[in-house]
Symmetry: C2
Subunit: 311 residues, 2 copies
């Protein structure tokens, strides 16, 4: 079991801490791939920030390699740490729904991040990205930047509601802009699949002005294929999620990667900040917060580049 | 012009303050009626809290009696205070849309509360109540509490999308519970209209088990009519918005007012907290936060009772 524990001095040196101290448990997937790595980075950073700002708030942060471990982490947080609030990004929806429901029923505040539970209405606060906005933001950039008659290709993710919402947002945004979509196919959010797909399109189409790859991993694959074909300069590629490598290319003025669209792993920070503010202040924090995607450009790229983040 | 200014010592004694200080402007309607009074109370309290927590954050809080004054307040905040972020509850949507758009276009962060602008997509963050949840929460209490065959009356607000959403939520929640709605009519969110309407219903119906008044002002009118008719004890009344008087009746165990439903004026605190957290930390705060209504009961009423609030 991989487990990271961050706690204030009070909790490290003696259980139960200062009178009036309240404890927030944070449970997230382990850093097994890029986005989750950044999730861990931002969660740790925000916990450190809030521990400094609010000495009476204690945090326990655990990372989990699978659902079973996450369930036992949660039970542990309740039984031995007596958490007052839980911020959780469920490893999977189904197996976590029952355990999280029991925690909510016992009166503990529950904030769910990104992956919804299998039953509605369990959590107090739901924080998630906006897949329609993710596609729309990319589509709006295409509509504003490309001339009428421009030819583009679109790389979709794994068939899913997430993918459908993203593509619907993109298509609505380019509607009426005179952009010709030469081809649209599933790259399955996978770098290698995207590479092969892009190779195929490059051999079939003599002119491609832009590529929308609905995730940065696919954008990396597409860019590799374009470079190998010697057609860099002909087209730009817009991915999405704010991968460090992409943001770095934007801020260095790379014309192949002029912009990116956020689906921020830092949403875990949003969830922790809102949960903490609800505890220390009197502001209502119960509800649904849907985080809009933002366009990362040369002008603002520094705000989205985190030197120490793995992603 | 009624104007309240709250500022840190740094700003009172010398403009421009410490290097690195950032300023958040907050502009809200003046306390001309109950809900707005509470809005002012919570805004001031949250600004005071955040000024203590973050010495480098400065606030300027203005209250406005009309749209024209609000427009000039906003211009003033930008021109002389150089605000970095604006939290605004527009007095009216139409006249504020242009001025707020100009502020957003200049790069200032904009958080809009409760009343949306006439054009979509201007603000970075939108914080608002959930009218469907407001009606649903009341309806769920009716469905859980009342026996099959129970007879109720429903007092609607001024005809509007807000009212329609609330009633739709209520009706969906009582669907299938065997509750008979004897009558449903518009009390227009008005105490006197509600009093007259309730008098009429009391004379027409020999048995009424419960009243849903979709706002606390109407609940006050309905309760007065019931008392005058000597039928207190026959029925309970559920209003909504969390008026102090209602919360006080709940916590004192008054059977006529067993519960209430929030549509919290403290949402201004939510908006200020999220805006401040976005500035001092790295959490994304761009998007739509829809605050769920909560059921106020004997068990939790103390959390919703603010001794010093006017409402």
């Amino acid at each position: 079991m991989i487990k990271t524990l961050i706690a204030t001095t009070a909790l490290v040196t003696g259980f139960s801490a200062a009178a009036g101290a309240e404890t927030i448990g944070v449970s997230i997937p382990a850093a097994t791939h890029g986005w989750a790595g950044a999730l861990n980075f931002h969660a740790e950073r925000t916990v450190e920030r809030l521990e400094k700002v609010y000495p009476d708030l204690d945090f326990v942060l655990t990372t989990t390699p699978d659902s079973a471990t996450q369930v036992s982490d949660l039970e542990d947080m309740v039984a031995t740490r007596g958490i007052d609030a839980l911020v959780v990004l469920p490893f999977e929806s189904e197996p976590l729904t029952g355990p999280i429901q029991r925690i909510a029923d016992s009166g503990t505040w529950v904030t769910v991040v990104d992956r919804g539970l299998a039953v509605d209405g369990i959590e107090n606060l739901y924080v998630a990205g906006d897949n329609n906005s993710f596609g729309r933001t990319a589509g709006e950039y295409f509509a504003e930047t490309l001339d009428e008659g421009a030819k583009v290709v679109v790389m979709r993710g794994i068939p899913s509601t997430v993918d459908n919402e993203r593509v619907a947002g993109f298509e609505a945004a380019i509607d009426g802009a005179g952009i010709e979509v030469l081809a649209m196919d599933h790259g399955n959010w996978n770098r290698d699949t995207a590479f092969t797909l892009m190779q195929d399109w490059l051999s079939r189409f003599g002119q491609i002005d832009a590529v929308w790859a609905a995730d940065d991993d696919m954008a990396v694959g597409a860019l590799a294929a374009i470079e190998q074909a010697g057609r860099t300069g002909e087209m730009f590629v817009v991915g999405g999620a704010g991968m460090k490598e992409m943001v770095d290319r934007i801020r260095s003025g790379d014309k192949s990667v002029p912009v990116n669209v956020t689906y921020p792993p830092a949403m875990i920070s949003t969830a922790i900040e809102m949960t903490a503010a609800g505890i220390v202040g009197n502001a209502p924090m119960s509800g649904d917060f849907i985080i809009a995607s933002e366009l990362i450009t040369l002008d603002n790229a520094d705000d989205f580049y985190f030197e120490d983040s793995p992603y």
